[in-house]
Structures are given as C-alpha cells and as structure tokens.
C-alpha cells in the first residue's frame, strides 16, 4: 500500500526532472554543440531587430543620436531597448516621440552603460530557423573597477531571457574581445590587432590558434589585421557590400577641415601624424590584398586614440533593392559631413544622417550605440 505511491512518485519525479533538464540544457548548450550560423554581416540584408542600451544618467550623451536614428527607421524594424527599469524605457519613448519602428523594453534591474555594440556578436540562426545566438566575450574590459561595465556583462543574458529561448540564446566565448573589434561581410570578418594582444598568451598560445578559434566561433574566414589605427574596427573601416571596403583617410580629413579644426571639434586635437596615416593605409592595403575594392573616406582621429570623427561607424540597411546608410554626422564639421556623404552616395547608398556630436567625445558613434540582432533577406 505504501510502496506503490512512493514508486509512482519517484518515477514521476524522474520524468519531470528529465523534462526540466532537457529544456535547461538546450538553453545552456555550448556553442559547438549548437547549430549557430555565421556572425552577422554588417552590410547584407534588411534590418529586422536592433538592440540599444538606454540609461537616463547618460541621456545627454545618447538622446540626440537615438532620436534621430529611431525616427528614421522603417516600420518593419523592432528595437529592443535594454534599460535598468521601465521608467528608463518610458523616458526614452517620450524623448523619441512618434516613431514608425517598434520599441520593446528589456528591463535589467542592474547597472549598465549605454553602449550596446561591444557586449555581444550576433550569430545568424541556422538556415531558415531560430534562434539567434548572442556570443558574449569571456570578460568585459575594466569590469573589475567599473560597476556599470560589470553590469554590461549581463545584458546578453537579459535579452535572451526576455526574448525567450526560441528567439535568442546567449553563450559565452572563451576569447576576450569587444563587439566593436569586428567588421564582417559575407566573405570574411576583419579583426583588430587588439584582439590578438588581449588573447595571445592569455587565452590562446599563439596567433594561429587565435585565428582558428575565431573562425570556429564566428563561422567566417578571419582576417586578423597586423596593423591598424588604435581602437575599434568601426572607427576606421566598414564593409559596403559587393566586395567594397570603405577605409578612413586622415589626409582627406585634413584636406577638407584644414590643419586648424573648428572650435569645439575634436577636443583632444587631431592626429595627422605620418605614423597614424600609415596605420590607416595598412588597413587599406590589407583589404586590397584580400580582394576588396577599397574606397577611402575622410576621417579625423584624435591624439588620444579614442576620439574619432568617423563616417564608418554606420548602420547599413539593404531593403527591397534600396540601400540606406545611417551615418553619424557632427556639428561644426559640416564640410567633412558633406564629403563623407558623397563617398557613401557614390558607393550606392542613400544617406540618412544621424547627429552624434554628443556621443563621439565619449569614444563612440552610431554603430557603437546600436547592435544588430537580426536581419532578413
């Protein structure tokens, strides 16, 4: 009499546990065991789902850029707004005003910064399926001294949890990187030298092991740049599709702006040194060696190695045969803005300018603020 319910209970408990663990392990499976596609290209397909971070304390840095960008997006786009709480989301909605795109909140309940790009890379879903995989770096730089950056480390998980395992899963790489260290198209992914510096003799033995690990995780041919200007790839290069690579050129920037910059533009001072020019040129040569048609675009980098007046920090959208580039522009640098716009137009892109004057002095522009979760087509 007593044994039957106990035996039944054990059997039922084991069955329930099996179901729970199967569900949980599906969410936690390592990337190698999962069917993830390659890292999302920067220039191919129509924008479908974007992710931005919003923190009210950083409103002065980002609101202008977000308002300009969100109001220009088409109705087909959904923007997930990662924010500490519902009040922050409401504040952004109010600031943005009426927009065609859909805004959805991803409340986190922990500190965070307002920079979405570096937090994760989006790996395409397996052919024709779901979910998207958010590949986070092994650790966040400076998280040990920076509570908001420590919180940033959790946002990929917040997004996956909010969207659900059928739409997005998050997994952690064994490698150290920032999302901004990569620029990809359908042929390959370019990787900055800082990824080599952070990983070789820390997570991998040597360069070849690093390239193998990156190719395994990103699912594309990896071009690890030997030389490049300091900081993230989107500051000095961008894939424009059809085998075209735009690469920054400080000499063009100086030609347009002149040696003395307008007041308030590029606070640390412009770096027009031959050494920096050589680093930009090295990137252009490497792209050409990889078979790309290289187009140079005026750029001004700061002497601090972090501040850039760049027109490569863009979000690209190819939709129904129409190619649109959301391009940062900067007040006080109108002649440079105009010249850059012409370069993109000549490359076949319709330009939607987004004012990033308030953000670039904090070391980031549009692409640094916006991450692309998925594209269609």
């Amino acid at each position: 009499m007593f044994r039957k319910p106990v035996a039944f209970g054990i059997a039922a408990g084991l069955a329930l546990a099996a179901m729970v663990l199967t569900y949980a392990s599906r969410r936690a499976a390592p990337l190698s065991a999962r069917r993830a596609g390659p890292v999302l290209a920067d220039c191919d397909g129509a924008l479908e789902q974007l992710v931005i971070h919003y923190v009210p304390e950083a409103a002065d840095i980002v609101t202008e850029a977000y308002c300009g960008f969100l109001s220009a997006l088409p109705a087909e786009v959904t923007v997930h707004v990662v924010c500490p709480d519902a009040a922050a989301f409401d504040a952004l909605r109010r600031a943005a005003g009426p927009v065609a795109c859909t805004l959805r909140a991803v409340p986190t309940g922990h500190p965070m910064t307002t920079w979405s790009r570096d937090r994760w890379l989006s790996l395409s879903p397996p052919a024709g399926g779901h979910p998207v995989t958010l590949l986070t770096p092994r650790a966040e730089k400076a998280a040990a001294i920076w509570p908001e950056r420590g919180g940033d480390r959790l946002t990929a998980g917040d997004i996956a949890r909010t969207l659900g395992p059928d739409r997005a899963v998050a997994t952690r790489s064994d490698l150290l990187f920032d999302g901004g260290d990569f620029v990809a198209d359908d042929r390959c992914v370019f990787v900055t030298p800082s990824v080599a510096e952070r990983n070789i003799q820390h997570t991998v033995a040597d360069r070849s092991e690093l390239v193998r690990a990156l190719e395994r995780e990103l699912g594309r041919k990896v071009v690890l740049l030997d030389e490049a200007p300091p900081y993230h790839a989107g500051m000095f290069m961008m894939a424009a599709g059809d085998g075209v690579m735009l690469v920054g050129d400080p000499s063009l920037g100086r030609e347009i702006l002149g040696r003395s910059l307008p007041p308030g533009v590029m606070p640390p001072g412009a770096d027009y040194t031959p050494r920096t020019q050589r680093l930009f040129d090295a990137v252009a040569r490497r792209c050409a060696a990889e078979g790309y048609r290289v187009v140079r675009i005026p750029t001004v980098s700061g002497t601090d190695g972090r501040t850039y007046l760049t027109y490569l920090n863009v979000i690209l959208d190819s939709r129904s045969g129409r190619r649109t580039v959301y391009m940062p522009v900067y007040r006080g640098a109108e002649s440079l803005n105009k010249a850059a716009q012409e370069v993109w137009q000549d490359a076949g892109w319709e330009v939607r300018p987004v004012d990033c004057t308030a953000s670039y002095v904090h070391f980031g522009s549009l692409r640094c603020l916006v991450n692309v979760l998925s594209r269609s087509g």
Binding site: L14, A28, E57, D118
Partner: protein, 198 residues
C-alpha cells in the same frame, strides 16, 4: 478516501522531492538565466605569458597574491636560457595603465606607459633566473589598472593586471538605482578576475 488522498499526496511529495534532487544535482550553467556562466569545460587560462627570444624563454610570473594599493608595485620575469651558450640581451620592462573619462563613456582611455626601465640580462648556459622588477611606486599611484609589459628586440609580452584594481572613487559613489545584488555580482566578477589574473 483518506487512504487515497494520502497516497496521492505521498506520490506528489515524492515526485517533487525526486525532481528537485535530480534537477539541482544536474542543473547546467544557463548563461541566459542570469549572467554569462562558465562553460562546462573550463576555458583556457594562461596565467604566465611566455615568449622566446635569443634562445631564452621569458615568462611573466603571476603574483603570489594581489598587492594592495599601499604596497610597492612589483612583478617578476623568469628567464630561462635554453641554449648551451651564454646569452646577453637588453630587456625593457614597463607598466601601462588607464583611466576612465566617465562612468558612461564607451571605454577607458587608451593605456599609457607610466613607468619603464631598461634591464640588461646576462645568463650562462642553461641558467634560470627570476628577475624581480620593483617599480619603486605604490600600486595606488599607478592609475586604474596597471599591467606589466616586457619588450625584447621588438617582441612584446603583455601581462594582465596583477589583481591590483584601483576603484575610482566616483565610480563607487552610491547610486540610488544600483541594487545591492548587482554590486555583489560585480564584486564576484572582481574575485574571479583576481583569481585568474584575466
């Protein structure tokens, strides 16, 4: 009726208990449940970066324990002459550090070299020597995340911060929006980084 209810309750309790034990014992690290969790296979950690120059293997040794801010910043390089001849070379040892523009900037500033010293090295055949580099500066005077660097003939060995993190006071200012659990998570991250040196 009582017997039936008792049986059902017993079965339900046993089922729940069994499930709880099995699930807790086998629960995988679910990254998307809260935070990026460690992979089941521990990720590779190279605690002591190494390079070979002039037939000598140079290793940046991990510290025995993290230094405190008021202690002198010291690191050590192990040099092993793997050849059967004496070796002489010039080594440059340096410390780089960074700073934060604001809590909401995208990145800390570019790391800058804040201390350097040339250090000639002579080793007899097969000799192993641990070279202790004393900077003469307190860790607290070396910026936010000081890290050691070794250069020989243009080859570099980049060290991780030696578990010495200088929290910037303004970053620690209590923030009404920061829940305690989040601060604890950051503290946990600190502990991990300190232990791995990564």
């Amino acid at each position: 009726m009582n017997a039936k209810i008792r049986s059902c309750l017993t079965a339900a309790l046993v089922a729940l208990g069994t499930m709880a034990i099995v699930v807790v014992a086998n629960w995988p690290n679910v990254l998307d449940a809260k935070a990026p969790a460690p992979a089941k296979t521990p990720a590779r950690v190279i605690k002591a970066p190494t390079m070979t120059v002039h037939g000598c293997r140079l290793t940046l040794l991990p510290p025995d324990k993290p230094a405190k801010g008021d202690q002198e910043y010291v690191f050590a390089v192990e040099a092993v002459n793997t050849t059967d001849k004496p070796v002489h070379f010039d080594m440059t040892v340096a410390v780089r550090s960074t700073s934060l523009r604001s809590r909401f900037s995208r990145m800390p500033a570019m790391p800058r070299e804040i201390w350097r010293q040339d250090c000639p090295v002579s080793l007899v055949a097969g000799e192993t020597r641990v070279i202790t580099v004393a900077t003469g500066k307190k860790a607290s005077a070396l910026g936010a995340m000081p890290s050691p660097h070794v250069t020989v003939d243009g080859k570099h060995l980049h060290g991780s911060p030696l578990g010495i993190f200088q929290p910037l006071r303004r970053l620690r200012t209590p923030n009404g929006n920061v829940p305690i659990k989040a601060i604890k998570q950051v503290a946990a991250l600190q502990a991990v980084r300190t232990r791995t040196g990564g």
